[in-house]
Amino acid sequence: MSVRLVQPAVAVPALNEYAAAGAPVGALEAAALALRRDLKLAFRKPAQLVQPLAFFALVTMLFPLAISPELAQLRQVAPGALWAAALLASLLAFEFLFRDDALDGTLEQYVLSGQSLTALLFAKTLAHWLLTGVPLACMTPFAALSLGAPTSALPGISAAVVLGSITLSLIGSIGAGITLGIKRSSALLSLLTLPLSLPVLIFGARATQLAIAGGALVAPLELLAALAVLGVTLAPLAAAAAVRISLE
């Protein structure tokens, strides 16, 4: 592996300071620093944060225009519309997951840092989820209302999006890691990640449907949570392997 002498946008300063002081940095501590750095950087470019949300709102808007403005009809397609829009919006955001850090060399520094790459990438993915998944979950109730969902359904829908977007971000971290070195990779990225996201779509849409109908939605929510747990356990390992391969 070649070490490029490119100064990262925000050089992982805290890591260096610790290293200079001779104090060993634990994996958790390093991950927390990486998380804080990612959040800080993201808030410097608010436009990138807003874009997936605007995209989500736009896609949701397409359904009333394409199908019918009648709420009774929209209510029936609302689960599918919301989840298709959420899936597409998070897909759009996957591209930003590692790209900037790969371009300015930060990722290579992570690989060389001697810290657990799995933990660092998990922190990055967590930051990504906080910056895209959580806002998406906050925004879905409004979109759901506009598609005719009753107010009583909103907490359930938000819960489904919160749980589902964890898994989506984790799947995205694998896809983004694998396609890191490829130029114009967005079509490929969706081809790789969408089939893996289908279980989230199925259970998420089912939970939304039950929430709108007023049924018990514990079962699909539990399945979404199970997927999230499985993702948290395995996906960071795969993402770390992917990034290592891409930077080789």
Binding site: T179, I182, P195
Partner: protein, 245 residues
């Protein structure tokens, strides 16, 4: 116990020669079995009491669907071996599986939809097995797309191998969630044609076809593996000994 025979499987020239020698041993039995199975399935087997002659497409459909999964498993296994032990031949094997598996998947999808027309009254039904098969097709497409997207062969090998391993972990999850989804959304009346226990006269040709398709895959795989090795080793000197100018 010595594992020299195993270690030699990591050497491209050895595997190239082995593949060349083995190909006819798979190809001829495959041809024989498929011809026998077709004869048995299309002529000897009695028509189904419900589906008439329409059921006969099962003799191509079921083996194709079976192979589409088996080839993906083989691909992921070879990819994992290549990823873990960094064996070049294993990566070549995984790469040569992809197109064959995707073709079997297409065959299963097309025959399934042709069978659906007279049986279900429609070419496409969102039946869980057809849907999972379609997802499998996209997994193959993703694998091949990733390979095509990365210039450097070694990096393409390792990245696509990782994708195959991730895919193979996900295949059962996808399959079961699709089954679950389908049992919620679809009235069971569409599946009125319950899978009957096959009569022996129908079952034997099916098993023969399964074996025939498996051997056919092995033969095509060996030919593709040789081509893949030739491309990868084009700069090596041993090529001159096996390929006539």
């Amino acid at each position: 116990m010595r594992f020299t025979w195993f270690h030699r499987l990591g050497s491209p020239p050895y595997v190239y020669g082995l593949a060349r020698r083995l190909t006819p041993w798979f190809a001829w039995p495959a041809a024989g079995l498929i011809l026998y199975g077709l004869w048995g399935g299309l002529v000897t087997a009695p028509p189904d009491y419900q589906q008439g002659d329409g059921f006969r497409i099962i003799y191509v459909h079921a083996p194709s669907a079976w192979m589409s999964l088996m080839v993906y498993t083989t691909l992921a296994l070879a990819a994992a071996v290549g990823l873990i032990w960094r064996i070049k031949v294993a990566h070549a094997a995984a790469a040569s599986c992809a197109a064959i598996g995707a073709s079997f998947t297409v065959a299963a999808l097309v025959t399934g939809s042709l069978w659906g027309r007279p049986m279900w009254g429609t070419y496409w039904q969102w039946d869980p097995r057809l849907t999972s098969e379609l997802v499998l097709f996209f997994l193959y497409l993703g694998y091949m797309g990733l390979r095509a997207g990365i210039e450097d062969t070694q990096r393409a090998d390792r990245a696509s191998a990782l994708l195959a391993v991730v895919g193979v972990v996900n295949v059962p999850i996808i399959h079961y969630s699709v089954t679950w989804w389908n049992s919620l959304h679809q009235a069971p009346s569409v599946m009125a044609l319950q899978k009957p226990t096959l009569a022996v006269a129908m079952l034997v040709p099916l098993l023969v076809m399964l074996l025939g398709f498996t051997l056919f895959f092995a033969a095509v795989f060996l030919v593709r593996l040789r081509a893949e090795i030739l491309v990868r080793e084009r700069a090596s000197s041993w090529i001159a000994e096996v390929v006539e100018p």
